[in-house]
Symmetry: D3
Subunit: 67 residues, 6 copies
């Protein structure tokens, strides 16, 4: 009964891409640890780029520089 939380910046992931993340994470837990997909939760959090920092700088700022 695993719980998987995927946090990404909100930059346009489509419903189809999210579905692929859900399927892929569920399969990974089944393949590696034999976990039952029926009780595997996957929750995707999309975080504003102003609210995500790396290296002391928001992703908004990094994107301005083409990073």
């Amino acid at each position: 009964m695993p719980y998987v939380n995927i946090r990404i910046t909100r930059e346009g992931a489509s419903a189809e891409q999210k579905q692929r993340l859900i399927e892929g994470a569920t399969r990974l837990l089944a393949d590696v640890l034999g976990k039952n997909p029926a009780t595997t939760f996957v929750i995707i959090d999309e975080v504003e780029t102003d609210n995500w920092g790396i290296a002391g700088e928001s992703v908004t700022e990094r994107r301005k520089d083409g990073r």
Copy 2:
């Protein structure tokens, strides 16, 4: 000083229902462990149905099938 995080799908919980979750979780910690309500936090995260998966499938898809 407990911290309780309740994650649910975003499907129309009202402010009154959220208030009941906050009260109920706070009381539960006081009743079972004697925790002080004054320093009990309850945070409710409402997650889009596209972003919540169970059994390898998003809740959006499950709702289409009436599940």
Copy 3:
């Protein structure tokens, strides 16, 4: 299919008390929002008192002062 994460300091909660937290949180979500207990997860994290701070001070220090 809610997910409830309860974080408390590690100060001797018994298996029976944890069971009561699990039951109580599951029932709360069923009562308030009609959520299905079969797919309600409750995860309890017990955190060392050195690792939990409030008011700028660790719980270890607060306990020394009888708080």
Copy 4:
């Protein structure tokens, strides 16, 4: 490679204030533990006041009373 998650109520924090939180948390981990800023993540979650409870009451209710 620390991960810092700051959760606050959504009450108008500006992009400049969030940038200061990101810088400050990154510097704190570098100063205290020598952690490399390049692989320090800071994620800020802004939570609706209806969804944050303390002392058994939502922050929305507390703000009405001027607290």
Copy 5:
């Protein structure tokens, strides 16, 4: 720069299995969203079976019944 948190019950996952979870989750984010593996974090939390509840019951109790 995704952050992936995998929570499982503590029931003997080996270092090699954890390594496969880390690799698999990192590859999934790269394949589906083009995320850079160099800044993808995967954190695995192993939770005691007393501390994980599903359907209002701890996993410890469920395991006793062979579930």
Copy 6:
């Protein structure tokens, strides 16, 4: 009433260093957003190096190579 969760690898942080993290994070929220220290929580999670991955590899493996 902020909640700050700092996740680091378990590699020997002392109680005194954790106290500095608690103080520093509490002060940061007060300085930047005027948050009340009395209701600021800081929780530090120390994660085994086998359980933390970056760039598709566990920190245990990276430390073997002197990284």
